[in-house]
Amino acid sequence: MPDGVKVLVVDDEEPFVDALAQRLELRGFTVLTAFNGDAALAVVQEKPVDVVVLDVLMPGKDGVETLREIKQNKPLVEVIMLTGHATVETAIEGMRLGAYDYLMKPTDTDDLVTKINKAHGRKSDHEERIRQANIDNLLRTRGW
């Protein structure tokens, strides 16, 4: 069970966000929600979020723009894009900007869970390496 993985679900469709959040919670994730790009940015800024599940098409700040700002503010936060058929190109563009992966709506939950876990795994590895590097750095400093 992926205990304590903090997931932020961002979509303008509230019922969708609501249901997905509950399902992810049932699977042991800690789920936060936001209904537009700006709210998502605020959540990412304030709370420790591991993985963001981000819809590409949203009124206001769209998915790609939100992704860019998340990556700017919190480069370690992994983002999985959600997209329809018509916006696959946008999702790929998102991956170029640093998104971990994308999923086509309607999503298969097992897929989504797998991807969230993998994304989280990458984030953990990343953090681990940074931590290790810091330790090495500290040790080297001491030696010096």
Partner: protein, 570 residues
């Protein structure tokens, strides 16, 4: 000129251009026009040629005839003057006594005869009218002439030349008489007779062809020489006598047999006679008739050839035009169709996305229900399930609304005229693009007039028109831009729909071309057909469309749609 021909050919009637009657009329008018243009000059030329040639031919024929009779007249006058002079000379050179002597007279006569042809006899007549002496083949001594008209005349004129007559001698001849007055006051007359055979010689010397007749008439119209066709010497000439003319004259007339003849004549005063030349008209005009039939033949042949060529050419040309018109129409329809498909494709993409969202919701809600059943340990929270199924049904309803709209659009590919509420049509069209507008944060204002009269038109085509214009407006504005959809009824006849945006706008140059096919400013993805097809549809529906634009400020499209169905629309 161009306008004139254009008006004649009715190039303006574009609308009914594709009807067979139009092409028929066009072909007929074209044929008439070309035939008139080609045949009138041809006809004029032929006519002018005809008359010019006729007059030239006439001159050519008449001039030598005139010259000939003039020459012959002079020969006659000379002939008569010579002989009169000879007699005058004798009368002057000899005395009455010399001439009264029979021997002397005979000798003089012999000399005369040897020098001048035609003399038959010579006689001396004293003042009492008695023939004193005579030399010649007849015995005319002592014959009395006192009471004869010529004897009176010679006393007055001093000289007398008679008409031709038979007289005692029983053959045609004429008389020359010269009076001589003695100083004593007595007078005598010298009289000679000349055979008219000499006249015939003179006429023969004209060298006439068989169909031409020449003769001499006296003042009374009596033949002085034998005519080939009209009578013997001393017969009356059956031809109508033209007025006296001392100059040679020619005229066309009919002879007593009703034949058309060319008559050339000239009159002489002393002695008074008329020289006449008659040429058969048919003979005169032989070359003329040949020319006329040639010209007629050439003209007829030309007309036939021109007619055939013109008819064939114009038939081919009109058929080509007809074919190319049909091809154009077909291509236009195909373009219209592909444009419709393109806009449907675009629509479909949008709709797919719209449907995706409720589907995603259903997916998650149903998934959650399954999760709850699997993981809830057999305890079912009915209220929670109720809420979830409601949410699913809600989403299904959303999907149904979308598919319904799409069906409403797709079903109307064929033209059907029905009463349409423009406001609801605009709302329906906008609903297709609503999501797009939302995603791009466009401010779309629906400024719809209340109580707008419904119009009779084709729903599908109007949907296409407004979808097209709205799409353009959406393309023109930046994210967050404004688009206003306005409906009004400016008068009893039209409903006006304006679609305004505050987008990039167009230059005047661009504005001038927007309704032309294949003109596009959307590099890469525009077909350049949207507005030209929009224009075509509105035109067909009897409406009008105009665009106003300012670079950087925005564009307004104004569509006027007739409330009633327009006649002549397709």
């Amino acid at each position: 000129m161009r306008n004139l021909i254009g008006r004649y050919l009715n190039f303006k009637e574009e609308e009914e251009r594709l009807s067979p009657a139009w092409y028929k009329r066009f072909r007929r008018k074209m044929t008439i026009l070309v035939l008139v243009i080609t045949l009138v000059p041809l006809f004029l030329m032929a006519t002018i040629n005809y008359y010019l040639y006729q007059s030239a031919l006439k001159t050519e024929i008449v001039t030598p005839l005139k010259a000939m009779i003039n020459k012959t007249k002079h020969s006659f006058e000379l002939f008569l003057a010579e002989r009169a002079s000879a007699v005058s000379f004798i009368a002057s050179a000899y005395t009455f006594e010399d001439l009264a002597d029979q021997n002397t007279l005979s000798r003089i006569f012999l000399v005369m005869k040897s020098n001048f042809s035609g003399f038959i006899d010579l006689g001396l007549i004293d003042w009492t009218g008695r023939q004193v002496s005579y030399a010649g083949p007849y015995s005319l001594e002592d014959k009395r002439y006192a009471d004869q008209a010529w004897f009176q005349e010679v006393q007055i004129q001093g000289k007398y030349i008679s008409d031709v007559f038979m007289g005692y001698r029983k053959f045609p001849h004429f008389v020359i008489a010269v009076q001589h007055t003695e100083p004593t006051g007595h007078f005598w007359v010298l009289r000679t007779t000349i055979d008219t055979a000499t006249f015939n010689n003179l006429i023969a010397s004209m060298g006439l062809d068989a169909s031409t007749d020449a003769f001499i008439l006296n003042r009374e119209g009596i033949f002085q020489t034998t005519s080939k066709f009209y009578g013997q010497v001393l017969d009356r000439c059956p031809l109508e006598a033209p007025p006296v003319s001392l100059e040679p004259n020619a005229l066309e007339t009919k002879d007593n047999q009703g034949q058309r003849v060319l008559l050339a004549y000239t009159d002489s005063l002393t002695p008074p006679f008329r020289l006449v030349l008659v040429k058969q008209h048919s003979e005169v005009l032989k070359s003329w008739i040949a020319f006329r039939s040639e010209i007629f033949l050439v003209f007829t042949a030309s007309v036939i050839v021109i007619w055939l060529v013109v008819f064939t050419l114009i038939s081919v040309m009109v058929r080509r035009i007809e074919e190319s018109d049909q091809e154009r129409e077909l291509a236009y329809h195909e373009m219209e169709y592909s444009n419709k498909l393109a806009s449907i494709g675009r629509l479909a993409a949008g709709v797919a996305h719209e449907i995706n969202n409720p589907l995603a919701i259903i997916n998650e809600k149903a998934g959650l229900m399954k999760d709850l059943m699997n993981m809830g340990g057999g305890v079912l929270d009915t209220n929670r399930f109720q809420a979830l199924t409601d949410a699913i049904l809600n989403s299904v309803e959303r999907c149904r609304a979308i598919t319904h709209r799409l069906l409403g659009f797709a079903r109307r590919m064929d033209v059907t005229i029905e009463a349409i509420d423009v406001n609801s049509l605009l709302a329906e069209v906008f609903s297709f693009l609503e999501k797009d507008a939302q995603h791009r944060n466009l401010v779309v204002t629906m400024d719809l007039a209340q109580g707008l009269p419904s119009i009779l038109s084709d729903r599908g085509q109007l949907q296409q028109v407004f979808l097209n214009i709205l799409n353009n407006a959406f393309d023109a504005v930046r994210d967050g831009g404004q688009v206003t959809i306005q409906s009004r009824a400016p008068d009893q006849e039209f409903v006006q729909v304006s679609i305004m945006d505050n987008g990039v706008g167009m230059s005047e140059e661009t504005l001038r071309h927007i309704f032309e096919p294949f003109f596009s400013t959307k590099k890469g993805y525009g077909t350049g057909l949207g507005l030209s097809i929009t224009y075509g549809i509105i035109k067909k529906l009897g409406g009008k469309v105009e665009a106003e634009s300012q670079l950087g400020k925005g564009t307004t499209f104004r569509v006027l749609l007739p409330q009633k169905r327009q006649e002549g629309g397709a």
